[in-house]
């Protein structure tokens, strides 16, 4: 799973780089606009260490933000699964909130909380929270009648059992959603850093943008992509381990 993810990313990245270089040489663009391969390589050697640390910094914020978001989404999704007034309210509120671009709220957070760790964390969590919440709400609201009937008919159904049955039956979908939300968490953190933070790879990209240094941006994109590919592969592997342990298959 890990080699496949990394290979997929490398193919896409190389195609992207090839397209840029084709543009450069096809349109005779200067090294200032698109650096030559040797320039990109020099930038890689010069910035590799700093950019790797910045990417890991961003990744750490994204992972913590994603964990927070998943835990919140599971809690609210489980509470909102019932066809009660509260359940309907939670569902409607979730659908309405997710329609609003969270990135647009980022400046408010920076004004209120400054440009430190907490602001980046909140933006990361908020951006990946709503898609996960909607999936969890969808999964938890849908009864698995052919399993649940017996427990309801015999008065054995408890909310814990209901959640366990629905989680078990939708384990593949949940794993996919959680692995997919990793990208959102990373994107959220980078966007936050890009707007006003003082650390992380988004902040590094902002500096590179001010310097109009495409080489640095390409290196940053490479490190972001490879990190997300590895993280997603790890999440998918974890999902498989949980599935094997739980289903015996």
């Amino acid at each position: 799973m890990l080699p496949r993810r990394v290979l997929q990313f490398l193919i896409i990245y190389c195609l992207f780089l090839g397209l840029l270089l084709a543009l450069k040489y096809g349109l005779a663009l200067s090294d200032y606009v698109i650096p030559a391969p040797s320039g990109i390589y020099q930038t890689l050697l010069a910035e590799y260490r700093n950019y790797s640390l910045a990417t890991l910094n961003t990744m750490a914020v994204a992972v913590i933000g994603q964990i927070l978001a998943v835990l919140m989404a599971l809690g609210i999704g489980i509470a909102g699964r019932q066809s009660t007034w509260l359940g309907s309210f939670i569902k409607v509120a979730a659908y309405n909130f997710q329609a609003y671009p969270i990135v647009a709220l980022a400046p408010i957070l920076f004004i209120l909380l400054g440009d430190g760790f907490l602001t980046r964390l909140l933006i990361a969590a908020m951006i990946c929270y709503f898609p996960v919440l909607l999936s969890v709400l969808g999964i938890m609201s849908k009864p698995i009648d052919d399993i649940e009937h017996f427990y309801r008919a015999t008065g054995r159904m408890r909310w814990q059992l209901e959640v366990k049955i629905r989680t078990f039956e939708n384990l593949g979908q949940l794993t996919t959603v959680i692995a997919g939300s990793a990208t959102l968490a990373m994107a959220g953190t980078i966007v936050g850093e890009f707007i006003a933070a003082n650390a992380g790879i988004g902040y590094s990209i902002r500096i590179a943008l001010y310097q109009s240094d495409l080489g640095k941006i390409l290196i940053a994109l490479f490190l972001i992509g490879i990190t997300i590919a590895i993280y997603q592969a790890l999440l998918e592997s974890l999902g498989l381990v949980v599935k094997r342990a739980w289903t015996g298959r």
Partner: protein, 230 residues
């Protein structure tokens, strides 16, 4: 103790004509009874009304002392996170574990009882599901195609065992096997073809209780009566 249904009618929301109307019958004694008829005439719907799963109907149901009714069907599954034996142990009270072991042997499930539910054949799955329902505290158990995909000899053994082990319980057995229904059931509510009035007719079955304990002539007469009623 009896189950009496009087002028029961039901229509699905938005339907132009009711699924059935004027259905009346009385099951006076505990034992094996049946709903029989072609697909789509309302056997399952009637069963679910009696079990209390559907409330929007007209007419009267007098369940008398039948305090608890359960409806089971052949599409039910057990959760897949542990083996069948473990699930059964959890949903059957410890006092009935001896009877559970007996049923597992009679139902021919001894070799596969530690497997997970999805590793079983469809017939085995249906038998496991039936065992867990049989061991619940209920006065009426509706078995909707509960022995589907089970071979004829095993079905016969299971039905006779159920009748011997639970003589005080009402069973309503829904099946499309006319010979089986005629042979083992006491009262058979035959759903007649569309447009016929009344929509149902109650036919007395052979109610076989032991292997070979029935007359061929009586079975033929019951089969004829069911065919005429249908």
């Amino acid at each position: 103790m009896s189950l009496a249904v009087d002028t029961l009618a039901f229509a699905y929301p938005g339907a132009d004509v009711p699924l059935f109307s004027g259905v009346s019958f009385r099951l006076a004694e505990p034992g094996f009874h049946s709903f029989f008829g072609p697909s789509g005439v309302g056997k399952t719907t009637l069963a679910r009304i009696i079990a209390g799963d559907i409330a929007a109907f007209s007419g009267e149901i007098d369940a008398g002392d039948l305090a608890r009714s359960l409806y089971s069907h052949n599409k039910e599954r057990l959760p897949g996170w542990s083996g069948v034996a473990r699930h059964l142990e959890r949903v059957v009270t410890p006092a009935l574990h001896g009877r559970m072991a007996e049923l597992i042997a009679i139902f021919g499930l001894g070799e596969c009882i530690d497997s997970r539910f999805d590793q079983l054949s469809m017939g085995q799955q249906n038998r496991v599901n039936l065992i867990r329902y049989l061991l619940q505290d209920c006065d009426l158990l509706i078995m909707d195609e509960s022995l589907a995909n089970v071979d004829e000899r095993t079905r016969e053994r299971i039905i006779l065992a159920i009748k011997a082990m639970f003589p005080q319980r009402y069973f309503i057995y829904i099946s499309h096997n006319v010979v089986e229904v005629a042979k083992f059931c006491q009262d058979i509510l035959v759903f007649r073809g569309r447009g016929k009035q009344p929509q149902t007719a109650l036919v007395r079955g052979c109610d076989m209780r032991r292997e070979g304990d029935f007359s061929r002539a009586a079975l033929d007469a019951t089969l004829l009566e069911i065919m005429n009623a249908a």
